[in-house]
């Protein structure tokens, strides 16, 4: 658990705007992934919708 906690902390420290980090299942539990804000997919949809129309 401590190892996962440390690796999660390190990942979060390097997370910059617009970037993504993948979490291991243990890190996801520590992060509380089920209780965070879900990524707003509608933005991606709009973007791709426009591309489709081009």
């Amino acid at each position: 658990m401590n190892k996962s906690f440390e690796s999660l902390n390190e990942k979060l420290r390097i997370l910059k705007e617009g970037e993504e980090i993948g979490l291991t299942p243990e890190e996801a539990v520590i992060y509380g992934i089920s209780y965070g804000d879900e990524f707003p997919f509608e933005e991606e949809n709009n973007e791709e919708g426009e591309e489709d129309e081009q």
Partner: protein, 395 residues
């Protein structure tokens, strides 16, 4: 902390330490039940409240307007982020992706507008992403702030709070005094008398705070509650309950009444200095508490929906045992026959006959059963028992 780039929770913890020292941390400030007074940050487009660590990142910005949105969301509405404005960092989680749906030839399936249809596909690993959001004060063209719509319920907040406590099944005792507490040993909440509170919302804000502690029992969310007063564990649990109180106060519009914090402030500051991640963990646990408590309402709504569906189903058919007065007779459904037909009996005469759904009498009896029959009183003038039966069916 060193000079390396700080993570979001480290930035939030540093800002909260300063606020705690001044007594201005978000959970240290009371607000009342007037909904214009205060609202937790929410998305200007979806109306959804921000969660967990994001709440504190956004509150720490000191903005008055609770509405936030991304650059793209502002753009989609034709609003502009004012020149030179800086965004505030939040984190989003992804547990699935939207993948274009393909047909048997591997071509994208499109909808009637020619847009690709997406399929929700679980990710092998959860992803956390960072994004900037902007406050409504930083956006030109956005409408003036109005009251946040009550999306889920228009109930009186006090009735809703009382119902939630009842639904939870928590044991609540009242005793004259100035103490409100949850006892792990007796698994019960003790509250001062209602009349000792200045307003009902103060009473319920306090009671729901204690209900937050109640969720920590090993049979519920199983948090560590065996803590000595003044210990770090005690301060940790109190922080979770205070943040949960904020979330519930916002959802129920009953405000937030912070407890006596002097005993905890030092502990909270030390805790955040030693482990900045504690604010992320506490905010997540508070969301768990919030979700656990609101599940009682969700379950009740689901039960209600199931009951309504069952009632609707019952109203669309005649069933064995239905007794229906119609015109000058009383009809009883005695048994179910093949192909949906019913064996009927006229109670007054004992006459038996078979009724099909296509028979006009079937619809007439159904109308009477459902109270839709306006032409036929279906009541014998001198028979009070029959009159009752037309409103309350016997089964």
């Amino acid at each position: 902390m060193n000079n390396k780039v700080k993570s979001l929770h480290e930035q939030v913890a540093a800002a909260l330490i300063e606020k705690l020292e001044k007594g201005t941390a978000p959970w240290q400030k009371p607000w009342n039940s007037v909904s214009t007074d205060f609202s937790l940050p929410y998305n200007a487009i979806t109306g959804n409240r921000y969660k967990g660590i994001n709440i504190f990142s956004l509150l720490n910005s000191g903005r008055e307007d609770p509405r936030w949105l991304t650059f793209k969301q502002a753009d989609s509405k034709g609003w502009q982020i004012n020149k030179g404005e800086k965004g505030t960092l939040v984190q989003f989680v992804k547990t699935h992706d939207l993948i274009p749906k393909l047909d048997e030839n591997g071509k994208k399936v499109v909808d009637e507008n020619g847009k690709s249809i997406k399929v929700r596909t679980p990710l092998e690993r959860a992803i956390v992403t960072a994004a900037w959001v902007f406050n409504a004060e930083q956006v030109s063209g956005i409408p003036k702030l109005e009251l946040k719509p009550q999306l889920k319920s228009d109930w009186d907040p006090i009735v809703r709070a009382e119902d939630l406590v009842l639904l939870s099944g928590a044991v609540v005792n009242h005793r004259k005094g100035d103490e409100a507490y949850y006892s792990l040993r007796s698994d019960s909440i003790t509250m001062p008398l209602k009349e000792q509170f200045t307003t009902p919302d103060r009473y319920y804000a306090t009671l729901l705070h204690e209900l937050g502690h109640w969720t920590g029992h090993q049979d519920r969310l199983n948090r560590s509650l065996f803590n000595r007063f003044g210990s770090e564990g005690y301060a940790r649990e109190e922080l979770r309950a205070e943040i949960a109180s904020m979330l519930i106060g916002d959802e129920f519009k009953i405000g937030h009444d912070p407890g006596q914090h002097a005993a905890y402030v030092k502990g909270w500051i030390e805790m955040l200095k030693n482990n900045p991640y504690e604010i992320h963990a506490a905010a997540t646990d508070a969301e768990k508490i919030f979700s656990y408590l609101l599940d009682f309402e969700r379950k009740r709504e689901l039960n209600q929906q199931t009951t309504n569906k069952s009632q609707q189903k019952n109203e669309s058919k005649l069933f064995i045992g239905d007794i229906i007065p119609y015109k000058d007779s009383v009809y009883k459904v005695t048994s179910q026959l093949k192909r949906g037909r019913l064996q009927m009996e006229v109670e007054d005469t004992g006459k038996k006959f078979v009724l099909s759904k296509n028979d006009r009498l079937y619809q007439s009896l159904l109308d009477v059963k459902n109270g839709n029959d306006i032409k036929t009183p279906a009541i014998s003038k001198n028979n009070e028992e029959v009159q009752k039966a037309s409103y309350g069916l016997k089964r």
